[in-house]
Symmetry: C2
Subunit: 317 residues, 2 copies
């Protein structure tokens, strides 16, 4: 038996057929933004999926279809008010695919999918309690308690990127100020870099980048070369993230926190300050006891594998 | 069938026999601090409980014994390193009572017990997702997800009184700085009062209290009379609590937050600023959607009822 998984991103929608041992055996994609009409998009995805399914023996061999999507709602099987997708309002995603493909469909958001992927195939195998934090363009989270994703009353639980960490701090896309995401996402790091360069006169390799905006990746490249401002940027980012993680632990007392996504590629430059701030701020009950791990999912596959795993765990239980 | 419930406080340990419809039909207590030896204490409690049980037909009619205790650990049935009890180290509470009384015993902390009591008999009846915040000498919490208490990996989940809300803020008994508890407990309110009076010259009814430390209750009495400093103290306390609650919502997306304990007696003086700060800081996904409620448990009975309810839900499932 195989599972289908799909990750809907603002640019691409990537789908794949996943084997029981967690390999993506067939995959494809469509351009999300190429379809102004939601149902045209659904048809295009189905047209992409059907030939792949034929290659593994048809839909009789497909047990479930899991989809990770921005603002994906597990309870309703919908995408609700996603700011970075072409379609507005509340979209009946699960229903649309179930009707066309005849398989059970589960929908969740991308960070939740990553958490289930981590538990099924990654660094959190065998864990019953952990928190996955995705550090990408934004900051997302998937919270696992007793081996299950926390969805909450309305299906939207686990929006830890929008915990306010600085009263009256940076403006966030969500309309609030001071959200974790405005500091600890890749865009947050770039924002910190811009601020630091503007408010200091200190020399930095980053000042050589004048033809385009500085990116999180540039800060890493400069840090590797010992650039002091770059190192300070990671210290600052890591401190804010570590302090937030210490507070998250007081909520669900996880065995581990798993960090996923681009920012973790900065390795010790970011992980050391995160770990230090987390331990400095964590309640004594948990000091030295909560593992801080980097995801073991391959970033290119994680979203599809995670979505497929959500489909499996939901539709077969 | 009846249940036993007990609340172990630093001063008194109150126990009771609870009927299936949630009434305490028999009750008693012992002085917690009168017993330097833990097993002497256990014997004294058993001596208090046995005659009550006889009056309802003996232990054949008792289904479970639930105990709420400071630092009570559900998984281990222990009290672990409780700072305000006479006995040190890790105490095998469940085992000690199970051996002597022959009934199944469940242990949890007092705030968790309050949450289960709220779900069973109080303002959260019928809810599957809510957070109980206890505002007493300290600040505690019990988190209910999918109708179950969150215990986490080690049994200590839900220590929201020790979330850090002010970087480098007030010193907390736990060793950290800036914990929610240092601002929003009854002692936190008294601390705010002391600070405000010291740093301002403004007239206040609170200045008349010179023969003893100001208490949270005094601030309420002054607020009722329109005292500006007292009103500001509640504004300040409520703002910090409301901001924290907004962050908690991003974690578990509860249907409601239920506030329990002394501070809620200040009514609108505290609830209005809490509600305002919560709504101002909550993510747009939940704005106007999460109920902020005051506990419907009678404070005198809540701890025993809640503990009994934890015993019931654990030992009979």
């Amino acid at each position: 038996m195989y599972s289908l998984g799909m990750d809907i991103g603002g640019t691409n929608s990537v789908f794949g057929i996943v084997s029981e041992d967690g390999r993506i055996v067939k995959s494809g994609s469509v351009k999300t933004k190429a379809y102004n009409d939601f149902l045209d998009y659904v048809e295009a995805v189905c047209d992409g999926i059907r030939p792949l399914v034929e290659e593994v023996g048809g839909f009789a061999n497909i047990g479930s279809f899991g989809i990770g999507a921005p603002n994906g709602n597990f309870y309703n099987g919908t995408i609700e008010l996603a700011p970075n997708l072409p379609w507005k309002g509340i979209l009946p995603l699960a229903q649309a695919f179930r009707e066309r493909l005849g398989v059970p469909v589960a929908v969740t958001n991308d960070a939740n999918a990553a958490a289930v992927g981590e538990m099924t195939y990654g660094a959190a195998r065998g864990m019953r309690h952990f928190i996955e934090i995705t550090l990408g363009t934004g900051v997302g989270s998937g919270i696992i308690i007793d081996g299950k994703l926390v969805y909450g009353h309305d299906g939207f639980a686990g929006e830890l990127g929008h915990v306010v960490v600085e009263r009256g701090g940076r403006s966030c896309g969500c309309g609030n100020k001071g959200c974790l995401e405005t500091y600890c996402s890749a865009t947050g790091v770039a924002r910190t870099a811009k601020e630091r360069l503007e408010t200091s006169k200190e020399d930095s390799l980053l000042r050589a980048i004048t033809d385009r905006p500085i990116e999180s990746r540039d800060v890493y490249d400069a840090a590797v070369k010992g650039d002091r401002i770059a190192l300070e940027i990671f210290e600052y980012t890591g401190r804010i993230l570590g302090e937030a993680l210490a507070n998250f632990v007081a909520f669900s007392a996880p065995e581990a926190i798993v960090l996923f996504g681009g920012l973790t590629k900065a390795g010790d430059y970011i992980m050391n300050p995160v770990r230090r701030a987390m331990e400095d701020n964590i309640n004594v009950l948990w000091r030295g006891k909560v593992k801080l791990l980097i995801s073991q999912l391959k970033e290119a596959d994680a979203a599809v594998l995670g979505a497929a795993a959500v489909g499996q765990s939901t539709c077969r239980s």
